[in-house]
């Protein structure tokens, strides 16, 4: 299945599309198990092998080429496919911020983004923040100010905090709090998180 700039040949429903267009070509290129599945008219089981879309992503400066089902979110792709489990699933509905990553430098909730929407983009996750052994100043500041307890929201908080500083929303504690309100911390480390961001925004911490 193609994935860019197509205007023709894809107007049919999914099953019709499978049956009509790519079935024949696909079978020629597939392992016998799939052919057998098709022969058994196991439409759904067959579909599983072909309903993937090629995906080309850069994550933490490393290029990944793969094929994914369109319904796979960026979050699940990072966690389950790439095993980059630093990015957390807290609600899966854009309501907690635990899944925050940077896409082309901007913070987003990876749970509400399909992996395929990020074709060609540069993703940074918590695993890509440190420079080798040297922590990013925000990571060091979170340790210094104890900006977490259980640690589960922490990667999202830190990715969000780095973006908050980059965006320039650090003119007061109140502004930091407002722009960090998309990241829920159930352990209640908020004041410590603000302390960490204040320090980094003033350029006061070296890892």
């Amino acid at each position: 299945m193609q994935s860019s700039d197509q205007e023709s040949n894809h107007g049919d429903s999914r099953r019709d599309f499978l049956k009509k267009s790519s079935l024949i070509t696909a079978i020629a290129l597939t392992p016998s198990v799939a052919v057998k599945a098709a022969e058994n008219q196991a439409d759904e089981r067959f579909a599983e092998l072909f309903e993937k879309i090629p995906l080309n992503l850069t994550v933490n400066n490393k290029n990944y080429k793969s094929a994914v089902e369109p319904r796979v979110t960026l979050l699940d792709y990072l966690r389950e496919e790439l095993h980059l489990t630093g990015t957390k699933k807290g609600c899966d509905h854009g309501q907690c911020g635990a899944c925050t990553v940077h896409v082309d430098g901007e913070r987003v909730n990876s749970c509400l983004s399909l992996a395929v929407m990020n074709e060609g983009k540069k993703i940074t996750t918590i695993e890509g923040l440190a420079n080798g052994e040297e922590l990013h100043p925000m990571q060091a500041a979170f340790i210094k100010h104890d900006g977490f307890q259980c640690g589960y929201c922490t990667p999202g908080q830190i990715m969000s905090a780095v973006a908050c500083v980059n965006e320039g929303h650090t003119n007061s504690r109140a502004e930091i709090s407002e722009y960090m309100s998309g990241n829920i911390c159930r352990c209640g480390a908020y004041p410590n998180i603000v302390d960490a961001i204040v320090e980094v925004s003033k350029g006061g911490i070296k890892a």
Binding site: R45, T85, G86, H93, Q95, I126, I158, R186, G188, N192
Partner: protein, 708 residues
């Protein structure tokens, strides 16, 4: 031992893993052949499953199996239906809406999710009630005894007092909602060897439960739970969904991972039970308390019973010769509750500490002065001295820090434009528990110390506290000490709950370190070395790569002689908008009186976190059910409000930091619960002081303030 540098001895020992994404939570372990489970849940509230059609689901792409009551594998403890606990997949009965009734296993999460939507279920419905407030008033409802009635002196003495107040307080259901979704990875291998990666506050408890359900030897079961993304009580038991996953793994002979949804977090992993409480207080005009009556109804489920310490505090926290309490639990057709941070004591403290404020107002007394006047010299309930209690000092320090002298006793006196300001205070108290735990210590010639115990860290900083205890006793820097936990094969320790871990496990760490120290001293003496020689030199001289010791520790007779509690005083300043009813917490001062502070940084964070939880309890949190359907209507993080960053002001924490001479070798008491207990009352009292409106139903949302 891996390289790990602590810039500050008080930094969290596992901080480096948490800030880099390297900390592995249960769902993040890679197992060969891992499959994904997704639950099918009931859409009715009470009744029976009449049919469960899995054909379409089983045919869907990637599906390995669908397990339900129709095809579950053997779980010997469940063979006899009925009784408690609830036996998942061994019944066709529905006890609550959202009850897990099948688990669909597929080779990807997306495929399992889709296939679960294809399972078709039909039911025979029965009448139900999910409305706790209705059940309380319904005389026909089956009422269960929650706790024996308590009476000291004259019953209901408040009724004949010079000044009396009587008031009713309502708490809704709250949901723990730790950030990490619940679930488990279960890997049932041939010969009944089971490994699980769990989200649990007690690896030994999880191990025991699985052994018991499946009747396999406890040694066959390995439970791993190194990092836990918050629990707040909800991970204190092994839930049916976890057993379901183990069953699924047994059934398909492959590892199965289940991570439930945020919506499912509301129905199947417990909640803080709703409560209705009545408090009667009587006092002389001079402010001497003469009678306390505390009656409480708490929510429980129809299929399992749950009780907690809602009325405990009334029995000893104030000097009063006449006290009576009653606690009754009332079943509704919902999932069974479980302790939530501060548990029943937090529920009770909201009522009692609001009532104390109401009485102070009735007496026209400063509520702080009223509390100090009725501060007990000894525990009247147990007729014992307190092991350690510095409440008056805590009051004084906290009052000074919050600026209590700005407070006016007359409500509504502090106004700035549309904002009205008010101050509130409350006390929190919780039993200073100490259980029994074992710790193994391995002191190595490379200069490092490894400590091991099957305890947990759901966030408070267990490893950090234990490292600091050992570091102080043995003079080894924290980054040369590794405290291993969250592994059922380690020496046993109780579950992390009831603010007991530092006291319980810390005591065993203490004993291990004392023992290691004396062994080193003996070895030094035997090899003609100076008694103060470095242990590395001593071990090397003796050609020992390492020495090991395991110690079990528990409380002694001192607990019979003294009444042991941790205390907190919460001071809150709020502002209330007179047109919109919005309440903003402006300043928080929490004072902890919980013995010595072992780990100052994490202790402070725990108090801060408790205050944040307290703001949620006071202003935001309520799990709402549509009782016509028995379904939660706000079962997500957008509609179930927990505080966000912008809700929280700067929080000042102060510790009395005096050792409790009797509790344990460190003189330290737990503070996880007291950080939250009472906090909601301080907010309600501050709202009253700001507006003159006494809100007795939590949470204090803008609509309630406007209605006042």
């Amino acid at each position: 031992m891996e390289k790990r540098v602590l810039k500050d001895a008080n930094d969290r020992v596992d901080g480096i893993y948490k800030v880099t994404g390297k900390a592995k939570y249960f769902a993040e372990y890679e197992l060969p052949g891992l499959t994904y489970g997704v639950l099918v849940t009931s859409t009715i509230t009470k009744g029976k499953i009449t049919s469960l059609d899995t054909k379409a689901a089983e045919k869907a792409p990637g599906v390995v199996s669908v397990i339900s009551h129709l095809n579950k594998p053997s779980a010997p403890a469940y063979e006899q239906e009925g009784g408690s606990p609830f036996k998942i997949f061994y019944t066709d009965k529905i006890f609550f809406n959202g009850q897990p009734i099948a688990i669909v296993v597929a080779n990807t999460f997306e495929r399992a999710t889709y296939a679960a939507s294809l399972v078709k279920v039909t039911y025979a419905k029965e009448d139900f009630n999910t409305d706790f407030e209705k059940a309380v008033t319904d005389v026909k409802a089956k009422k269960l005894q929650g706790q024996p009635e308590y009476k000291r002196g004259v019953e209901n003495a408040y009724k004949t007092a010079e000044v009396k107040i009587e008031a009713k307080y309502h708490l809704p259901i709250e949901t723990h909602n730790p950030m990490e979704l619940h679930g488990i990875i279960a890997d049932w291998r041939p010969n009944n060897q089971v490994t699980v990666y769990a989200k649990t506050q007690g690896v030994k408890a999880t191990q025991g439960t699985i052994a018991n359900v499946f009747k396999i030897p406890i040694e066959n079961i390995q439970v791993n739970s190194e990092f836990v993304g918050g629990g707040f009580g909800m991970a204190l038991r092994t839930w049916p969904l976890e057993i379901a996953t183990v069953m699924a793994s047994k059934h398909i002979a492959k590892p199965v991972k289940l991570v439930i949804t945020r919506m499912q977090m509301f129905t199947m992993v417990g909640n803080r039970p709703a409560a209705v409480q009545t408090i009667g207080l009587g006092a002389n005009k001079d402010g001497t308390l003469t009678g306390i009556t505390h009656r409480a109804f708490g929510e429980t489920s129809a299929y399992e019973n749950f009780t907690e310490g809602v009325v405990n505090m009334a029995k000893f926290m104030y000097q009063c010769d006449n006290v009576n309490t009653q606690y009754t639990v009332v079943p509704v057709d919902l999932g069974v509750p479980i302790w939530m941070r501060g548990p029943g004591e937090a529920t009770g403290a909201f009522a009692l500490e609001s009532a104390i404020d109401e009485m102070a107002h009735a007496l026209d007394m400063d509520p702080l002065e009223f509390r100090i006047k009725n501060d007990p010299e000894k525990d009247q309930q147990r007729n014992k001295p307190f092991s350690d209690k510095n409440i008056k000092e805590a009051y004084r320090v906290g009052a000074q820090k919050i600026g209590w002298n700005e407070r006016k006793n007359k409500p509504g006196s502090l106004i700035d434009g549309q904002w009205k300001y008010g101050f509130g205070v409350s006390i929190g108290v919780f039993n200073a528990n100490r259980g029994r735990a074992s710790v193994k210590g391995i002191l190595k010639a490379d200069g490092t110390l490894v400590l091991q115990s099957a305890t947990s860290d759901i966030g408070p900083g267990t490893g950090t506290g234990m490292t600091l205890i050992a570091s102080k006793l043995l003079g080894i820097p924290g980054d040369k000490i590794k405290f291993e936990l969250g592994d059922s094969s380690l020496p046993p320790a109780p579950s992390q709950g009831g603010s007991a871990t530092l006291s319980t496990v810390g005591s065993a760490v203490n004993d291990v370190c004392v023992s290691l120290k004396s062994t080193i001293a003996e070895l030094a003496a035997n090899s003609n070395m100076d008694a103060t020689s470095n242990f590395v030199d001593v071990l090397k001289k003796n050609n020992l790569p390492q020495i090991e010791v395991t110690k079990q520790s528990q409380a002694g007779k001192e607990r019979e002689d003294y009444s042991m509690y941790s205390f907190s005083i919460h001071f809150v300043k709020v502002k209330v908008h007179s047109l919109t009813g919005v309440v903003k917490v402006d300043k928080i001062v929490s004072v902890g009186d919980s013995g010595s502070i072992v780990s100052p940084k994490t202790a402070r964070s725990q108090m801060v976190g408790g205050a944040v939880g307290g703001v949620g309890m006071a202003l935001h949190e309520e799990s709402i059910i549509d009782h016509r359907y028995g379904r939660y209507i706000n079962n997500n993080f957008a509609d179930y409000h927990v505080p966000v960053n912008a809700d929280i002001p700067e929080i000042e924490v102060h510790f009395i930091n005096k050792p409790d001479p009797y509790i344990n070798p460190m003189g330290a008491k737990g503070m996880g619960e007291i950080a939250l207990i009472g906090f909601s009352a301080a907010v309600a009292n501050a709202v009253f002081n700001a507006t003159g409106k006494r809100i007795r139903t939590l949470p204090i949302t803008p609509d309630k303030v406007l209605a006042g």
